[in-house]
Amino acid sequence: MAVTTSTPTSPPSMAQDLLNSLPKTLKLKTKQQELLIRVATLGLIYILAFITRLFSVLRYESMIHEFDPYFNYRTTLYLTEHGFSEFWNWFDSDSWYPLGRIIGGTLYPGLMLTAAALYKILHFLRFAVHIREVCVLTAPFFASNTAIVAYFFGKEVWDSGAGIVAAALIAICPGYISRSVAGSYDNEGVAIFALLLTFYLFVKAVNTGSLSWSLASAFGYFYMVSAWGGYVFIINLVPLYVLVLLIRFVGFQHVQSGEHMAAMGVFFLLQAAVSCGSDIWIVLQVFFFLDWVKHLLGDVKLFQAFLRITVTGAVSVGAIALGVGMASGYISPWTGRFYSLLDPTYAKDHIPIIASVSEHQPTAWSSFMFDFHILLFLFPAGLYFCFKRLSDATIFVVMYGLTSMYFAGVMVRLILVATPAVCLISAIAVSATVKNLTRVVRAKVQTLQSGSGKGTSASKGSSKGVIDNSQPFQKNGAMLLLLGAFYLLSRYAIHCTWVTSEAYSSPSIVLAARGAHGQRVIFDDYREAYFWLRQNTPPDAKVMSWWDYGYQITAMGNRTVIVDNNTWNNTHIATVGRAMSSYEDEAYDIMKSLDVDYVLVVFGGVTGYSSDDINKFLWMVRIGGGVFPVIKEPDYLVNGEYRVDKGAAPKMLNCLMYKLSYYRFGELTTEYGKPPGYDRARGVEIGNKDIKLEYLEEAFTTQNWIVRIYKVKPPKNR
């Protein structure tokens, strides 16, 4: 860009002119050089953010990953095939049999609409790509865009250097990559982009006071709301931020003046209308209302009396309303997932279905280290710099960082929300440090030329005299520190690449393991099983499985499922959990009542795949027992211990899940030197090798026994 603008065009001999001006244009001014470098760097970051997420495509193939993305893919496919109106009104009779699910009203359509729009654009440009490729590459594409937004955000908060660093950090940060590799077609892929964009535009609006930026911010928020449930974070963070700003300017002289009051009042009223559920907004409203009353009354005593009456009145009315509402069930308490955010132990005690999801677990320290690496240490440093240069923008970033870090600690998947904040604040630390150090390093040259007049403004921390006295040591020290910083940053880059390629690029639908000779072994059992279902079962067959596999069965197997990953009906899931943990004859009645034709279980005993149904089984017992008290967890445990070997509880050895997992497993030798029926996932010899099925029959078992499908027999003829 810098090149084109600096060349004056003269019509007669363009080529000649261009050749003449080339050496000149190459000799750019410092500012132009800087711009060129910055744009080039950003371009490289843009590309890097995209290609670092392509490991999964190169390792495996262009495919949709995991569980939820299959639903997103299926709905996107439907959207492109049937159009928006049909999509909006889609009643899906293939899931949650026989209840069905209203798809249009129970999803966040932002992702699907985005992918469908990209697909339409590509087709308009005559790129005949399949919708699957668009879905696979949506997340990396938006990750690149996020990096660019991070640059602008960093620039807005600190300076363009911090922006560049932030863009670079977020482009490869594992915390973000974990949810945005190619094929990870999930809401978070676009939502993080929307989140950061909203925050950026908001900060921009705060800094400039411009209505157009705030409008843009509102649109960003709108997009975020359409894409992900995490929007509640924004709607709560923004008023919290305003509250902090108010507290900070206790005098609030400039807030109190009439026009500002009105403008902000309108703004908050508007926002409050949007988010009636958000308590912080109400606090703000009350605050402003009181302020306004104070302004009107103009008398301190009168105001205090007014305050006393209104507060007591409001509190009592509120308490009565709340009591009546709660008693009559009109006000429903917060959803469990939200509760577990405030109290991390809540779900564990009360809602097994939330506690059972791996991504809802509290975060371990190691995963912080794994996902943030050096950012974990740079984050506090960045906070330090932010506090040293407090402004509206840095306050916002600090608040964003602190709140999101708390949430990241509560729920492992919310590391994702914290990642942009951590990257930004770390970028501030890196940028400020490097800037200071380079200034020190270059200070001598400058002092030789023009004296030490310039560099002091940035290095506020140390006094001028000290710099002058310890110049040589400081220079060496600065060099050393600079080298150290680059070493750390390069370690970060290496770590990120390694994590991406090793940990986060597995599609989890195709499993890879190392063979005895170090070669890669691919287990493609899931797709084998789903393909079998698609090809060999009647089109209206109903498949019962644990809910984890529901989306995949409907998307890949094209068969009706009883429960799926949209865990909206706990009772239905509990019914399946009960069937799985009952004896075969009891389970048969349950399955008949649900018209189940096939039962699908995932079994890792042959391959040593540990996230199979036997390891998830206690959750089925808990969730089933939560609704049907006949299922009791202690029945499946021996002295509080979960076992599948000879010492296992008798009910465990004869429940449906055990039988279906280990049917005929006792005849199989899985490992050399071990007895037949040796379960490699749990490292024991199973306790019940002689399993007879009365009401079900084995229909299909995949190559590595990972997926086993059973057919439910019709009732006895005689």
């Binding site: 026989p98 069905g100 209308a273 003829n717 005689r718």
Partner: protein, 424 residues
Amino acid sequence: MAKLIFLFLTLIPILCTSFTPEKPSDQRILVLLDDFAVKSSHSLFFKSLQSRGFDLDFKLADDPKIALQRYGQYLYDALVLFSPTIERFGGSIDAAAILDFVDSGHDLIVAADNNASDLIREIATECGVDFDEDTSAVVVDHSGYAVSATEGDHTLIASDDFIKSDAPVLFQGIGHSLNPSNSLVLKVLSASPTAFSANPKSKLTSPPSLLGSSISLVSVIQARNNARILISGSLSMFSNRFFNSGVQKAGSPTKHDKSGNEQFFTELSKWVLHERGHLKAVNVQHHKVGETNEPSIYRINDDLEYSVEIYEWSGKSWEPYVADDVQVQFYMMSPYVLKTLSNDKKGHFFTSFKVPDVYGVFQFKVEYDRLGYTSLSLSKQIPVRPFRHNEYERFIPAAYPYYGAAFSMAMPNTICVCAVRTLV
């Protein structure tokens, strides 16, 4: 060439008759005998079958060439086992093969007798009927016996404990009990309350295991696939001697010239061989009121019409079935709608109802199980969707406060924004 065409033309009617799914009665029956003497001693029974158009194939039970199926096709529609003592069938037939034969919808008549073999007992057990385990025991009744020349033999029983009894039925053989866990098996000829099952030649040392009217003499089973099975504890019941003999029940003054056996087994065999009590349901239709095509999905609160045609096989043709107790369910885990179908006496059953205000995957279910009839179990799956976004009413009265709230919100906003604009 002309010859070939002629051959083909003559073959057509044969081919046509051989593929008549419309005709539910059995055609070809395999009769397995212990020895061919039974063929003549029980000829009246066989003759009655043959006169009704059945094609009987008599074989010795241990004939090494007998087979029920060839190339996966069953050769017979029904099987008559008049071979109580057979220990092992010839050819490829065994107990499992016979049960498979039944499970694929074919009918079976089993006659046991004194000293019935384990094989016959096993088949009976699999059908929900347990013969007395004491192999020497027969049914003895000291008050319900038939008066006969040889005084003191109370093993020949005159039973009149069956539906629409005319003359008593003579029975001589072993008793059985019904498996209580089997809900399909049904007593058709029951022993009297004074009967018991024991060896008449030896002294009773312990109370007999089968007692009174819990003893079944003849039982029938209609399997879930509508295959019908008849199990009798006596082979001689079917014999010409019993068919023709007169009967006088002990203590009864009336002496019948002819026992009820012939009529009993004629009617029973009609039922077992699907000449009677066979229903079919065809032409299941449902559609919205005012339309004729079947939709792929209903909307909640749609009005719909459901109809089905039910016919009964009279032995020769399909006659309209007339009943006022056929019900249809609109079912999702439990019936949301249960309606009795009206009929026009021509076999057409119909009703109309409103789809409940619940969405989900429903089924039209007709479960019609009546004694003596084949069970009808029809189910048709249909999803029910909620309203589309543009099918709701535009303005709902209950929502007026919200409309008001929205407007009262919007108005001051506009004013304020305008005011601020002018001020700033």
